[in-house]
Every structure is written in structure tokens, then in C-alpha cells.
Point group: C2
Chain length 301, copies 2
């Protein structure tokens, strides 16, 4: 059923290109978004983990979203990550995204404190939703335990979805843990469950998952769109899993930028914001070659 | 030598009292700061971990600092925590603190990404310092691995202090790991090392530590000021360690607010911002009793 969600599909968790001053390169970002949409992506998630979202200020993230819209990307193709650790900033940035027509927003839990209770996480999300008031929009919770030190328990997501129907409409799971992903899929059949781990995309689809919000989609969008569209293609899933394996041997975000730099022949794609550190162009070349070997990428012309 | 630092002493990592709407209760905060200063604290660290800093927006933190100053607390008694995950916000809030006359600021590393390199952390802090430019102020790095998932290696702190002398002037270590704290003390004899763990205050002082930035100081400031002032008092250190043990059996911040609520007979001290959850008044009463038993608190009149 969730496959029928209007937001189902492959969303690219877009990388954030930088200019020579380390500022967001808006022209390049629009070109990148258009390329991903042309490859069949349902849309673009801006300023998530892959987009180095936490390295950009609230004002930079608002300006970036506005610029992408001004560049001609339709608002219903944009799913921005809008969470900060504090409620007021989260409310402001989420409301801004809604006011511009984004169909939903993606919300991490507050990620500084550790060992917090489900009750505390419930209160945080409830406070955000109540403060949004009549300007609320559909929200996807974002589970990424490796980076937040917190796991959004399926029971917590259930409680939020029941308390705020048509607001808490789904979840992105970047746990990389299929046993947890399958628990979300089983416990939340009415919600859109997106996986961050492309290695489980086929399995998730078979269990009613709504798709993926994917860092790999920055450079192999077509393969992911194919797999999600066809559902049953073990060979495609195996190719994708092999490609993921090549990438995660490196720090993913700098490696992904280096791959895009190599594919586009634009070395200025490589820089990242601190605390990340860019990788050499040679790493990008090697990785592109490895991705071609998996069959996920066509050889360069 | 670092004991001669102008900032040496006991700094209270102030709790942030809330009003009935969950907003910062500025009047109560000023009263609390004055009480801590009257007890002999060198000063107050605002909006650190104990102050639930990450639950307040940049604007709230700026307004809070301004209100405390307007309430009559001298700027040289205030050491605000001013770090956010992104460089632009960190620069803005740090610059604001310096413009108001604060003698220094306390800076967490960017705490979303994990597994980042020392080079990446160096670049983050360097970017902050370079953007502050001529308006830079002395900075204390803030090591809290349990909450950030990152450890500031002594070699990284050394590199930053050498690259930015008279800017990177010290560190607060909340690792709770004396073996790491003693490495900082040994490797950085020219820097002010403050401990977050009051159980090691006497040991730190013996090894030249500059003092503590302490959550316990919210309710046992006198005992901490005594120990730091006298240096050698095993019995006082033992009492403090026992008091810490009583507190950390609970979630520290809600427990600390409940203790202050009990001591001041002001139950409105108890609420916390999500994702924390307040504890019952009975917990505060029990803990106050336990603190009296340790000898750190005088029995209620």
C-alpha cells in the first residue's frame, strides 16, 4: 500500500557542491538536481547527512532551498532535511520549507543528548508539531543511530503517528540494520518507510517499503530507479550492493563528491566542509572505475 | 602555572531555569548566577551541556546572555558555550559573546558527524577562528566524548594551540576519564585545563589544572570552591565524589534541577526542555537528603 504513496520512489540525498570560497554553489546544485530528476528520481532530499546539512547554518539552508526553487526545480520534488537540536530553529526551518510548497520534511531527532527516553523524544517531536500549528506539513522521521547515538523505536514512531495522523507520515531508516528496517515495515504498515541502505532496497520494496532516500543516487540514480521500478531483479540488487561496498570503504561523503567530480569532469565538486576532509582526485577515478566494474555505471565515452 | 590563569577557579555550568511556557526564566537565572558567585564561584558557564544549551536556538542563547548581563552579572564572570555544528552560526554566537565582554567562550566540536579525522576537526576550529578575525576572543575547547562521539586528542589541541596562540588557551575535559585528563595536563602545560568531573578536581589541581566547569556547582558550590582553594583535602574530595555518585545514578540534568527546586523551595525549577524529561519532586527531596548525608550540603534550617 505504501508503494502507492505519492512520494514513493527513489529520492536522491543530494550532495552539496561548494564554490572556491566554501559557499554552497547554487548553480551547480541546480544542474545536479536536474540531472538526478532526468534520471528518474522521484525527487531530491536537500541538506541531509549526505548533503552535509549540519555544516550549513539555518540561513544557508533556507537560502539554498530558495535558490533551488528559483533555479526551476518544482517544490513537490524537494524533501529538505530541516531538523536542528533545538525546537525553535527546527520549527522555523520546517515552516519555511512548507511555505515554499515542499511536500514534506525530514527530521532527525535532537542529536546532542544521549540516553534520552522515548518519552523525551516524543515530547521533542510533539513540541515541533504543536509549534508548527496550522502550518504543519507531512513529516518523515529520520533514524540514523550511528550518527545520532539514538534509535527511534518502532513503538515511538507508532505513538507519534497515532498522535499526529497525516503529519507523521513515515520514516527514513539509515540504521543499515535490516532487522530494524523490517520491524519498521511490519509495525508501521500505514507509513512510508524509506531506507537509507541501498543494499536492502529490493527487500524493502517486497515488504511494502516506499523507496529509498539515497546517497548512492548521486551517481547511480538510473540503477536505483530501475530496481525500484521493477522490484524483482536480484542481479541489479547485487550490482548495487557491490557498488555500496566499494564506496563505504571510504568516508562516504568525500568519496561520493570525488566520484561526481570524476564523472562530471568538474574537480571543484571535490571539496567538503569541515569536519570532513576531501579525498584526492585519484580516489574518485579509482572509485569510478570500480563502479563501472560493478555494472552500475556505464564506461566513460 | 596554569593555576595563575586569570580564569582559574570553579565555574558553575549553570542550569537553565524555565518559565511556565518553557521559555528561559531570565529573572530566576540571574538570581541563580548571583547565588553561585556569592558562594565563591569564579564565574558562570552558560548554555553548556548542563544548561541544555543545544535545546536553545542561537537567538535564545544571545538573548539569554544579554539578559544576564542586563541583570547585573559582570561580563568577566561569564564563559558561554557558543558552538553549533556549523561554522557560520558558531562564529556569529562566539563573536556576539566577545562583543559583550565575555573573557572567553567554550567550543564543542561539530557533533553530528562521527569518525572524523583530527585534520577535519582542526579545519573546523581553524575556520571558526579565521572567520572571527580581529574579533576573536580566547577559546576553550570542550571535550565530551560520551555526547559528541568524538575525542579531542591532546595532539590536536596542541596543534591548535600552536597555530592559534592566545586564542586556543585551554580545554574543558568532560570525558570522566582521568587517564585522558592527565594526558591533557601533561601535554598542554601552558593551557588552562578545566575538568568536568568533580571527582578528579583535587588530582587535577595537583597537576596544575585550572579548575572545574562544574554541573555539581549548581548546588554544592561552596564545597567545590573550598576544595579548589585549599588543594589538599582528601576528605572534601571524598565527600564530593560521593555526592557525584548520588547524582549520576539519575539523568544528571533533570536530577540537578530537582535538587535546586528542593533547595530553593521553587518547584518551577524542575522542568527541562525535551528531549529531557523532568523528574518528580520526590527525587529531588531524596537527592537533597543524600547530599546532606555526604556532608556536602548543610541540613535545611
Amino acid at each position: 500500500m505504501r508503494l502507492s504513496s505519492s512520494l514513493a520512489g527513489v529520492w536522491a540525498a543530494a550532495l552539496s557542491p561548494l564554490d572556491a570560497d566554501g559557499e554552497l554553489d547554487l548553480d551547480r546544485l541546480v544542474i545536479h538536481c536536474n540531472r538526478l530528476l532526468a534520471a528518474g528520481c522521484r525527487g531530491i532530499s536537500l541538506f541531509g547527512t549526505t548533503g552535509e546539512g549540519t555544516a550549513f547554518s539555518p540561513a544557508e539552508r533556507q537560502a539554498g532551498l530558495e535558490a533551488v526553487l528559483a533555479g526551476g526545480i518544482a517544490a513537490d520534488r524537494l524533501l529538505p532535511a530541516t531538523a536542528f537540536c533545538d525546537v525553535p530553529t527546527t520549527v522555523a526551518i520546517t515552516r519555511h520549507a512548507g511555505s515554499l510548497g515542499c511536500p514534506a520534511a525530514l527530521l532527525l531527532p535532537p542529536f546532542y543528548m544521549k540516553g534520552v527516553s522515548d518519552e523525551g523524544l516524543f515530547r521533542h517531536y510533539a513540541a515541533v508539531i504543536e509549534a508548527l500549528g496550522s502550518r504543519v506539513l507531512p513529516l518523515y522521521l529520520y533514524n540514523f543511530p550511528d550518527l545520532t547515538g539514538l534509535t527511534l523505536a518502532p513503538e515511538l514512531v507508532r505513538r507519534l503517528a497515532d498522535a499526529f495522523p497525516e503529519v507523521v507520515v513515515g520514516l527514513k531508516d539509515s540504521s543499515g540494520d535490516w532487522s530494524l528496517s523490517s520491524r519498521y515495515l511490519a509495525a508501521l504498515p500505514d507509513l512510508d518507510i524509506f531506507l537509507g541502505d541501498e543494499r536492502s532496497l529490493q527487500a524493502a520494496r517486497r515488504h511494502g517499503g516506499a523507496g529509498t532516500i539515497s546517497g548512492m543516487a548521486n551517481f547511480i540514480p538510473g540503477e536505483l530507479v530501475h530496481l525500484f521500478g521493477h522490484g524483482d531483479d536480484d542481479a541489479a540488487q547485487a550490482r548495487i550492493a557491490e557498488a555500496v561496498g566499494k564506496m563505504v570503504a571510504h568516508s562516504f561523503i568525500p568519496a561520493a563528491k570525488a566520484v561526481v567530480a570524476d564523472l562530471t569532469r568538474e574537480p571543484t565538486w571535490r571539496p567538503v566542509r569541515p569536519p570532513l576532509v576531501e579525498v584526492d582526485a585519484a580516489v574518485g577515478r579509482r572509485l569510478t572505475g570500480a563502479l563501472v566494474e560493478t555494472g552500475c555505471l556505464a564506461p566513460a565515452a
